[in-house]
């Protein structure tokens, strides 16, 4: 096996040093009845070139991964996609992959030994700094699994901070985030109630929100831009939430929006999905969640944090810090059971943000805004009706001239993946409702072609 660096002679010599006649003796503690005496029934050992062939077949949409099928069935690549809905296709500068594939980043362990982990630690400190700047928060952790689990962790954090136990969630938070939230908090005795949106604007129903917040409500979770693409009035929401003594958590699923949309500075906690910053959509993961918050809530923050310090010669350095919150120290009393973060993905995000920087993030966001505005107006000309009047970023909900499923089927026959049909989660919007997204990668030609098809 090519990954194993031992010759048969090495193995024999080592067994002799150990003082056992055969390798089986080293497994003697496993009761014989449970020892596997046959080969595992898994695919045979593949050469590297064969591994590549199998995955090329998978990448060409062949379910069996059989390269023989690839020869007879060349795959056709979709021409364009208008899907967003929490997973956004943005350009990934090539230096991201050149840099994160350096073995010192790719194959290093969690930086518990700061003397030989300063590279990862300094980059994570830079990451935390940029996330604070983008979200308008004072503190950010060094990443969570993703936006869905991060939002659930943020709710549990708010429960710890306030000592209250209920959560109110906007129905315009990503439906899958809400599912994860329910799974996660139900065993902590945290009741979750939902608040709807105004049909005309697509924004949170503020009167309903006010009515939904009870004396024991710990927090309100909203998303902005919300799942339907609409930017929420965070300041107005915050006023209502804070008046009732609860915390406001704002989830941001489309991080690129922060280049042009005012950050949710009125929030107490921001839960960000940073996938848009240089992370491939990759069928849903790995992505990069982050929790950012006001400084006063720091001690209840879950996940790893990197802090600045000095070594004993007075040189600046960085360490993982405040680990007394974490499971490896606190065990069952920890703020969360989380251990792993998304360090390498956070590194991609850090590099992406450095590439675009101060000017580029705004310019990038402006291009997204312009593309979506064009698509929206062309869709309107094609007979589709935008469902909401409030401003959005790079996504918008429309009522198509026919059921979204059938429009999408027609589009697909032209090699176009249409927007996401919304009826599954929002039946009240009807079968024709769909969520369309355009990013800087969406070309005018693709949009024109799609809107022409929608019209027919």
């Amino acid at each position: 096996m090519r990954y194993l660096p031992k010759s048969p002679a090495d193995r024999a010599e080592m067994l002799e040093a150990i003082g056992v006649p055969s390798i089986e003796d080293l497994f003697a503690t496993i009761p014989e009845e449970f020892r596997l005496t046959r080969d595992l029934h898994i695919p045979r050992q593949h050469a590297e070139s064969e591994v590549l062939d199998v995955f090329r077949a998978f990448a060409a949409n062949i379910a069996s991964g059989d390269p023989a099928e690839l020869a007879t069935r060349p795959a056709s690549k979709p021409f364009a996609s208008f899907l967003g809905a929490g997973a956004y296709r943005h350009y990934r500068p090539v230096i991201i992959d050149s840099l994160i594939q350096r073995g010192e980043f790719l194959t290093s362990y969690t930086p518990y030994q700061p003397e030989i982990s300063q590279g990862t630690l300094q980059a994570m400190f830079e990451f935390q700094t940029m996330i604070c700047e983008l979200t308008g928060m004072e503190m950010a952790n060094a990443s969570m699994y993703d936006g869905s689990t991060g939002a659930a962790e943020a709710v549990m954090m708010a429960v710890r901070v306030t000592g209250r136990d209920g959560a109110v969630v906007a129905r315009t938070v990503h439906p899958e985030y809400r599912e994860v939230l329910r799974t996660t908090v139900q065993h902590q005795g945290i009741p979750v109630s939902e608040v709807g949106f105004i049909r005309e604007t697509g924004r949170l129903d503020l009167a309903a929100l006010e009515a939904a917040i009870a004396d024991d409500t710990a927090c309100v979770l909203v998303q902005s831009p919300n799942f339907l693409g609409v930017v929420e009035d965070v300041a107005a929401i915050a006023e209502i939430v804070h008046k009732k003594g609860a915390l406001l958590i704002v989830s941001v699923a489309e991080a690129v929006s922060l280049g042009i949309v005012k950050p949710p500075v009125e929030a107490d906690i921001v839960s960000l999905e940073a996938q848009s910053f240089g992370v491939a959509v990759a069928f849903g993961g790995p992505y990069c969640g982050v929790i950012a918050c006001k400084e006063k809530f720091l001690r209840q923050m879950p996940g790893r944090l990197v802090g600045e310090t000095k070594d004993r010669n007075g040189k600046r350095g960085f360490v993982l810090t405040l680990s007394t919150r974490e499971q490896h120290i606190r065990r069952e009393k920890a703020t969360s059971n989380i251990c792993t973060n998304q360090a390498l993905v956070a590194m991609m995000v850090t590099i992406f943000l450095t590439v675009y920087g101060k000017e580029g993030l705004r310019e990038l966001a402006e291009q997204n805004l312009a593309k979506a505005a064009y698509l929206r107006s062309e869709m309107e000309k094609a007979g589709a009706k935008p469902l909401f009047s409030s401003p959005g970023f790079n996504e918008f909900a429309v009522g198509l001239p026919a059921a979204a499923a059938s429009v999408n089927e027609t589009l697909l026959s032209q090699g176009i993946i249409g927007g996401l049909a919304l009826a599954k989660w929002y039946p009240e919007l009807g079968e024709a409702a769909a969520l369309w997204c355009a990013t800087e990668l969406t070309t005018k030609a693709q949009m024109d072609s799609a809107t022409t098809t929608v019209k027919v």
Partner: protein, 516 residues
Amino acid sequence: MEETKFIGTPRKATTHVSQNEGLMFEKSSAGKKGYRLPLLDVPAVDAAALLGEAVRTDGLGVMPELSEIEIIRHFTRLSTWNYAIDLGMYPLGSCTMKYNPRINEAVARLEGLAEAHPYQPESLSQGALGIMKMLSDALIEITGMDTITLQPAAGAHGEFTGILLTKAFHTANGNPRTKVIVPDSAHGTNPATAAVCGYQVANLKSNALGMVDLAELEKMVDEDVAALMLTNPSTIGVFESDIHKISDILHAKGALLYMDGANMNALVGKTRPGDFGADVMHLNLHKTFSTPHGGGGPGSGPVACKKILEPFLPSPVLKTNPDGTLGFDYNRPQSVGRVRAWYGNFGMFVRALAYILANGPDGLRQTTEDAVLNANYLRSKLEGTFELPYKTRSLHEVVFSDKLQAKNGVKTGDMGKRLIDYGFHPYTVSFPLVVNGAMMIEPTESESKEELDLLVDALTQVAREAEENPELVKNAPHTTRLQRLDETGAARKPVLRWKAPVSSTELTANTAAKEW
């Protein structure tokens, strides 16, 4: 005058120059660019007009402005300050720091996989689903279980999912139960997970051999116990030979056996948890199945289980349609719910499957055998130099203690730090908690005899230094860019982000315009 840095001679490493590098924010200057966007092919828009009050006005003052070469150098320089598997061995017990094959990275970046959108039609996702199916089938066979979910994002998230399955199972049988038993040798995530799932944690003391105390377990297990969370091989690297008795004790009272699969690298191809009585377990793809640790993540924590738990798996579940195509089944009325958006860390599934294909059944078995061979070789070479608290045959890792060196005031943490000067990453320090001054070593299969001999040599020299010049060890490392860092200070006054230095002469417009 050059201070004495070594009594012995490090054979693996020599100090050399590394580049200094500040924070990116300190290098930034206005007007530099590392990007260029394509020409806008649609009419430009007035953001302020479109967004109204929601438009951003603060100017993102802290964000850096750097050119591409500076960005490349910045991160490349940082990278050289890291230790990594690609540089040498990580003897980190319980972490399974094995080689991360590069073909895994290559296939994960194939366009049809990296650019697959999670909401694209299932008809276009057959390849991605095929990967999930092939990986699921392989992991079910490797664990001897009946079914699996790939959704959990990491090991601890897998534990959470597994305990939720357990809870749903008991609830369906009329009583969710109140307690989860966790041995004192367990990873910290185990008790934290049980607590997050709403269970009380009952701590089980290990016996004199560091194993589950059957009599004690029998006393503890009653109809309030939902499960025992057991790491097997245990965190001292020893197989629980009484595993079937443990499982019988639990099953007799209707409790389940949860297996923490952190140490699965000792078992693959040699024995199967499903055969020895485990009901549910998680795997760490970033340990056993070679996906990169990447400085702390991403992980991936699939949960495999017996048929009795299948109705409760997180939704959606992978299914084969009547026409042979693959799809997701969302109609799961008894499901514990979703634990993560979409389907899990798909990119890690690709890498883990590439590893399994590159190995095949023979390669995986040889891998396990080599991992166990390496640990036992180190044990035989180092026993005597360091105290070995538990003498039972080791599998993939061995736990020594600092007892012999502690009499000179040298602790496990000191010797771990000293290993850095000899060119190694420290072993796992002070874990498991059942061993006082633990030195936990897991070499994995990825180390050659030469690398193992270098570690033996380094540790032997460190032990000698602990006798002859304890201060040298206690103040280690001496050869790194930075020496021991003030962690207490970092926690007392946390500085978690960079702030522009406040200068009386130069107050930038951006800083002034900030509204928070």
